[in-house]
């Protein structure tokens, strides 16, 4: 049962995000933060100020439309409108009875449904970032902002790290298994709002955890800014699944930077569903630090209008005998653009690595534009590595086959497109979530 938080959420200073006054005001209200974190945030803020916007010559931004943005157009929004909050809470129901959930609107925590007491007694933590920082300072110091991002969005990550206070801290102790998903919803409802969702997942040895982040908006035309970050620390033998459903407004500048660190024999699955944003940059880093890990990274993107989805991935194998498998599928409508750029990096000692990378683009309009930059950097010789990229249209023979069986052309096309998605959708393990996501994806075709 979810609890709506009735008392006013902790006041956040209203101010534009490019302004040092905003940062300083925010810092002065976050009195519960440790000296370490305060310093860290200051460092990140300085870094944000110093770093330039990505230049035209930066290989990590190849094919991207030139970024020109004024951070002072966006602001940390004040308390959201109660009616809007209510509507958001009502719609934060991807499943009816989740194990637990948190709902944020414009960075404000508005509802929670905590985990059961017996799980708490076992040591499981599922708290908002603000609470986590207050209640578990040593855990935070060990893990928060621990993994360095290097795929090009350093400026946005620095901004995120300096300003984030909405998000979740998830900790699962040794051997504890949480089969059902934990949900974190983030909403944007106010014009020019800037949100900074943060998800930190720490799974100790042989634990199991399943997390779903949902990014949503009350209005598909709302101008907004998002810089999100999610980090997974999978301990030895841990099973971690994380899904991110990104459905921001079509006027959102979205930057998302995720990282996974996989220890011995851990199994990690990440799935990203990307639907929203005017331009959405998604960076996903994987670092396999110990042998035996098995990591899969999946993504499904539907782009339309003039949307631009810019995806950069990095699979780093630092230890031998591990597997990583990446599959990114993009369906492009209208005059939209996608960019996929991925690297598999196999270090010298990572023998017997199996690493795969596949990018499939389906062009549904001649004006759509798909770019593919799959890359391999291999320093070990006993490896199986491959990447593949294909770009094409719906197969005319398949279409013909269906049509001569009496299926109208439009329906046949739709069936084929939905078939293209199914490879990713079937990875969702519970029917309820899968059906909801399938409806959400398919709804993009009826607009």
């Amino acid at each position: 049962m979810s609890t709506t938080i009735s008392e006013a959420p902790a006041p956040t200073p209203v101010g534009t995000i490019g302004d040092s006054a905003t940062f300083n005001n925010l810092a002065s209200t976050l009195t519960h933060e440790s000296a370490w974190l305060k310093n860290k945030r200051q460092e990140c803020w300085d870094q944000f100020q110093e770093l330039p916007l990505p230049g035209r010559k930066d290989e990590r931004w190849r094919f991207s439309t030139r970024l020109s943005m004024d951070f002072n157009e966006y602001r940390l929004a004040g308390t959201p409108d109660p009616d809007a909050v209510e509507a958001c809470i009502d719609q934060s129901e991807l499943v009816k009875n989740p194990l637990a959930k948190l709902v944020f609107v414009d960075n404000h925590l508005v509802a929670t449904s905590p985990i059961a007491d017996e799980l708490k007694e076992k040591g499981v933590i599922f708290e908002s970032l603000t609470d986590g920082i207050q209640n578990h300072p040593s855990l935070i110091e060990n893990y928060l902002f621990g993994e360095e991002a290097h795929l090009g969005s350093e400026k946005f990550i620095a901004l995120h790290n300096a300003l984030t206070h909405a998000g979740a801290v998830i900790y699962v102790p040794k051997g504890v298994e949480l089969k059902d998903p934990l949900f974190i919803y983030h909403w944007t409802t106010q014009e020019q709002t800037a949100v900074f969702p943060h998800t930190l997942v720490i799974a100790e040895a042989n634990s199991t955890v399943n997390v779903i982040d949902v990014f949503n908006t009350s209005d598909l035309q709302l101008p907004a800014f998002c810089s999100a970050s999610g980090n997974i620390y999978a301990g030895a033998g841990a099973h971690v699944t994380r899904k991110v459903i990104q459905n921001w407004s079509y006027e959102t500048a979205s930057f998302q930077s995720d990282a996974t660190i996989a220890a011995r024999d851990s199994q990690v699955k990440t799935i990203a569903i990307n639907l929203g944003g005017k331009r959405a940059r998604f960076e996903n880093q994987l670092r396999i630090t110990e042998p035996g890990a098995h990591v899969t990274m999946h993504s499904l993107t539907v782009s339309q209008g003039e949307q631009e989805f810019d995806q950069r991935t990095f699979q780093s194998h630092e230890a031998p005998d591990a597997v990583s498998d990446l599959l990114y599928k993009n369906a492009l409508l209208d005059e939209s653009r996608t960019i996929f750029s991925g690297i598999i990096n196999v270090k010298k000692d990572a023998q017997r690595t199996d690493a795969y990378q596949t990018n499939r683009n389906l062009l549904l309009n001649p004006k759509a534009d798909a770019n593919s930059l799959p890359g391999l950097e291999i320093q070990a010789n006993d490896v199986k590595c491959s990447h593949g990229a294909t770009t094409g249209q719906l197969e005319s023979e398949e279409l013909f086959y269906m049509m001569q069986r009496g299926i109208p052309k439009r329906v046949a096309q739709q069936l084929m497109v939905f078939g293209f998605f199914e490879e990713i959708l079937e990875k969702f393990d519970t029917d309820e979530v899968r059906d909801n996501i399938r409806n959400l994806v398919q709804s993009k075709f009826h607009q």
Binding site: A370, N371, N381, V383, T390
Partner: protein, 468 residues
């Protein structure tokens, strides 16, 4: 389990140089005076001098491409390089007229006289100027022009000026600009409409003087329906300091023409080999690059085809072998500019010891085109535990009914295969080189016979002692 130590390879194949007294020497370093000197020595027309000087400006303006390429480029010291050396002789027409010591160099490189019997014409470039160039009479009768760059621009401007510097403009990249400023030597070929040159034309390049950069310029024009195959080989003696080779090769295949360009590059491993190669294929034309890179310290070479006319076809078949201290940074570019154009890229690389092989590619299909296809395959073989390979393709597709596919794989020689062959009585080394040859075999079978034999021999040589 095979865990071989790094290979010691025979780098002495081209390790010899002869005292040659050069009549013309542009000195060390690069400035306007040097460029004017080169132009003057060659007795060039004013427009060529202007072209060179403009290129020098572009060269000085452009930055090094180190934001994406190897930092090793910073080790090129442009001010220490000699840009022009020549003995001042006119290109000789018969083998007998070639000076003896030059002849000796070529003998050692294995261009014996008897080979000329089936090579239609041989153009060998000794440092900057063509030492001899000879064409079979019947080709001349058919109107085929096969001359050096200086001769070509001087005597046939009406043919070559139209395309000179058009496929690869001066500002294309820093090294193309450098070549445009100081080029000398190379081959200019024109094949008239409908003429099919049945035997391959050949040229051999060699860098002799220490710290000398070689900047040959090649332009091949196949007129409507013509066909020609051109082969080049390159080698350099071993000197202690680094040498620069920066060529520009432009191919123009007019309607229905076919050009095949074959390179076997075996520079010694102190040469920076930074080459720009591009072809322009008109309607129904076909351009095929066959590119083997075995030598050099750093090779950066991405042969490309601009598919400019309907149904034009481009192909790049490439083999790279990177040994200790070598970086083979090769690839291909396919720029589709007309409907129903097709392109194919097959790249195979072998990394031995601490060698590094990189594939970089670009495939571009813009929005207004229909029915274009590209296929790209990159396979990499890693021999030793410390070998390295990278693959960086870049693919952009828009438009209607266009399709591309790209695949890359990385593997090693299978231990079972080696074991199988060894228990049949082969030594480990033999088994290894057989495996490696098997890996490139499906490519070499497309090569002209003598080149595929040559390549097999070179690979065997390189693989010698790679295991043990």
């Amino acid at each position: 389990m095979i865990n071989p130590s790094p290979i010691e390879i025979d780098r002495d194949k081209g390790n010899f140089s002869y005292e040659t007294d050069y009549e013309f020497d542009a000195g060390v370093g690069l400035n306007e005076e040097v460029v004017k000197y080169i132009s003057q020595v060659k007795g060039e027309d004013e427009w060529i001098t202007d072209f060179r000087l403009k290129a020098l400006n572009v060269f000085n303006r452009l930055p090094m491409p180190t934001h994406w390429a190897s930092k090793d480029l910073e080790n090129i010291h442009f001010e220490k390089i000699r840009y022009y050396l020549a003995k001042g002789q006119k290109p000789s027409r018969t083998w007998e007229e070639v000076p003896d010591e030059v002849k000796e160099t070529f003998e050692r490189l294995g261009i014996p006289e008897q080979e000329r019997k089936f090579l239609a014409g041989v153009e060998a470039q000794f440092d900057s100027e063509a030492a001899y160039s000879r064409m079979k009479d019947n080709l001349e009768k058919e109107g085929v022009i096969f001359v050096g760059s200086t001769e070509g621009l001087k005597e046939y401007p009406e043919i070559f000026r139209k395309f000179f510097g058009k496929v690869i403009p001066t500002g294309d990249n820093k090294f193309a600009a450098l070549n445009s400023a100081v080029f000398s030597g190379g081959s200019f070929i024109y094949v008239p409409p409908g003429v099919k040159v049945s035997q391959p034309l050949q040229a051999y390049f060699r860098i002799n003087a220490e710290n000398f950069g070689q900047f040959e310029r090649t332009l091949i024009i196949a007129d409507e329906g013509a066909e020609v195959t051109y082969m080049e080989g390159c080698t350099a003696p071993k000197f202690e300091t680094s040498t620069l080779h920066s060529a520009v090769v432009e191919l123009v295949a007019l309607k229905g023409a076919k050009i095949q360009y074959i390179t076997v590059q075996n520079w010694s491993n102190n040469v920076f080999n930074l080459v720009t190669k591009r072809g322009l294929a008109e309607e129904d034309a076909e351009i095929k690059w066959i590119d083997c890179n075995i030598g050099s310290r750093l090779t950066m070479k991405y042969p490309g085809v601009i598919l400019n006319g309907r149904r034009a076809r481009g192909e790049v078949l490439s083999i790279a072998l990177a040994n200790n201290g070598q970086h083979q940074d090769t690839g291909a570019k396919m720029i589709h500019r007309a409907d129903e154009t097709t392109s194919n890229i097959i790249s195979k690389s072998i990394s031995v010891g601490e060698g590094c092989a990189t594939y970089r590619g670009q495939v571009h299909i813009p929005e207004h085109l229909k029915g274009c296809k590209n296929n790209t395959e990159c396979d990499a073989l890693l021999i030793n535990t410390n070998s390295r390979t990278d693959t960086f393709p870049a693919i952009t597709v828009r438009g209607d009914d266009n399709s591309v596919q790209h695949e890359a794989s990385v593997s090693k020689v299978s231990a079972e295969q080696i074991f199988y062959m060894m228990q049949r009585g082969l030594s480990e080394g033999e088994a290894m080189s057989l495996s490696v040859n098997g890996f490139v075999n499906d490519l070499t079978k497309f090569f002209p016979m003598e080149y595929s034999v040559e390549l097999k021999r070179l690979i065997e040589l390189e693989m010698e002692g790679s295991v043990g």
